[in-house]
Symmetry: C2
Subunit: 330 residues, 2 copies
DNA sequence: ATTTAGGTTGTAATCGACTACATGTTTTTT
DNA sequence: AAAAAACATGTAGTCGATTACAACCTAAAT
């Protein structure tokens, strides 16, 4: 195993100089720098990360704590985070919480043990409700979930605005009786409900909301119940991609024709939403960008810990497809 | 910062005893063990991982190297790997290669630097073609991709069998002119082509294969070209979920009706395959189980490095849906 | 010519845990 | 009862880097 003293010997300098070159300190002369780099290359020296981390108290590692990496939103975020981290020679450690506060606490403890430089976190509702930055030894950037007034960096969709515009779109196309199926245990779901509510109230229409647990089968059951109503509502909105999937399954199971029998709209522009006839109208989130912004924000926070907290609120894009087409007068 | 000597003092023992208790060595008496554990709890002591790793030369970390975590197959595998690792107090480090041999080499180098206990790898075609276990300082388990005769642990689908059965299913339903759209740059795609070929040859039918790059838009273009043919083939098989998506997009864009105009079948039982009318017939892979088996295999390999290599070949499940319904005689 | 400042370099201490070895104690064997 | 074996524990060295500090050299300032 070649180590730093071998490099030092080869380059004819002390270990301190080698270390200075490798950590990028600007206190080495150009000639020594070049000789060290040459020796490193000749010997194919790789610094021992454990030793480096022990002494320097830093790990150059980013933690990513999400409910479930299989959620396409988080998958995309993780890819963005990994891309940026990789380009900066940093590592990513992943942890799934399943929305379980205990597992979430374990994950954050794990991150503390790893002495991560920072964490990108999608918090459970419970953690979000009493989030305090001082509780952790590392900076945190929240993604997807955030509540007004919390002192934390965050990257999220403008949920209120997105749901408001989606609702306005349906209303403009003549749909009046709208059922809003949303994730009741999620801050995001609730904020989207508020945006929907605001649009409905503005048009003096009643709000029909169905809160579900954030699982596909739950959403399907809720949607099936809605579809048993008589008369059928004129439209249904799903507050997330997962719920939209459940709704689509229910519609297919009951042979309900979109948009003739009922109009549909939802969140998350997943690949399949354009495949389901006649194409599902959705709010697209800039997921990859959100992940990228989250880690950039985190890296800035690590560099300058005392600047004021920032929230990056991103705008969703309304993608109109056949599922929300104008209502035919009957 | 509370450290091991604080615990030792509190428990009235030496640091060696504390270390022995914490690393689970069976050479401590029960009384001291209990007193150490009590002291650990009272002080909320957390061992410094960097120090531990430096001295012990082990990291208790697993590397996961895949082409793209956004591929649902790998997403699911990563979730399984993370679950098992988490339950054993191990970490997972993720790296995406984009099928680029250079990035792949960087990822594996990164894993070496991290002194991972082992790696779960989905190799590029190039790496697979001259894979040698001795090239790395850690054990490797291959997932999804494997070639006969390679001396390596692996977990994969029985691709030949799955494609064979899928083809037999289409043939049994009366489809004769079948186009097989497959990922030409993937070992998996090629193996599936061989299975398809075997079934066609057995029935003395010609093989029509279209190799594409493993990207959705490439598959769509290829499928569009196929759909321009006159007469239209009677069925199309997609050798992966990604390609199936491209095919489905092409069919929708051309308003081709499944299965009246053309029958469809493919791989990967993704949530949306049952949503596309009239439901797409697919081979389902036991993805989560494959991930679980992969890390279990890896942990066994770490425990006993010298046992013979093992390949776990799993059987795909044929899920028949409307897209491959029996051909109407004309 | 002497002092001062600024820039380079090297020596040695240090990070915090694991573990080889030595030592002491108890149990078993002869 | 003595010797050997087995077990339990402690002391101190070690893992391989970073970095505080001191020492040195050169150039600028007095």
């Amino acid at each position: 195993m070649v180590q730093i003293k071998d490099v030092a010997k080869r380059a004819g300098v002390s270990v301190a100089s080698v270390s200075r070159v490798l950590t990028g300190l600007p206190v080495v002369s150009e000639p020594t720098r070049l000789r060290v780099l040459a020796a490193v290359k000749e010997l194919d020296y790789r610094p021992d990360l454990a030793a480096r981390r022990l002494r320097s108290r830093r790990s150059d590692t980013i933690g990513l704590v999400v409910s479930d990496i299989r959620n396409p939103f988080f998958t995309e975020v993780s890819r963005a985070v990994e891309d940026v981290a990789f380009s900066r020679q940093m590592r990513v450690i992943l942890c799934n919480t399943d929305e379980d506060p205990n597992k979430e606490a374990s994950c954050l403890e794990l991150m503390r043990d790893e002495k991560v430089s920072g964490v990108i976190l999608s918090p459970s509702l419970k953690l979000l409700s009493h989030f305090t930055r001082a509780d952790y030894g590392f900076p945190i950037v929240l993604v997807d979930r955030y509540e007004r007034g919390i002192e934390a960096d965050a990257v999220l969709l403008d949920n209120f605005d997105a749901a408001y515009r989606l609702t306005e779109h349906l209303l403009a196309n003549g749909h009046r009786q709208i059922v809003f199926v949303y994730g009741a245990e999620s801050a995001t779901g609730r904020q989207r409900l508020e945006g929907h509510r605001a649009a409905m109230v503005k048009h003096q229409l009643p709000v029909q909301a169905e809160g579900v647990k954030p699982m596909e089968d739950q959403a399907r059951e809720a949607a099936l119940a809605v579809l048993k109503r008589s008369p059928l509502p004129q439209a249904v909105i799903a507050s997330s991609g997962l719920i939209l999937l459940g709704v689509a399954e229910a519609l297919r199971a009951t042979r309900t024709v979109i948009p003739r029998d009922i109009a549909v709209a939802g969140f998350d522009n997943l690949p399949w939403t354009q495949l389901v006839e006649p194409g599902l109208t959705v709010i697209a989130q800039p997921t990859y960008d959100m992940g990228r912004e989250a880690i950039e924000l985190l890296l800035q926070r690590i560099a300058t810990p005392d600047k004021a907290m920032r929230q990056l609120v991103m705008r969703g894009e309304l993608i109109e497809r056949g599922s929300s087409a104008a209502r035919q007068h009957t």
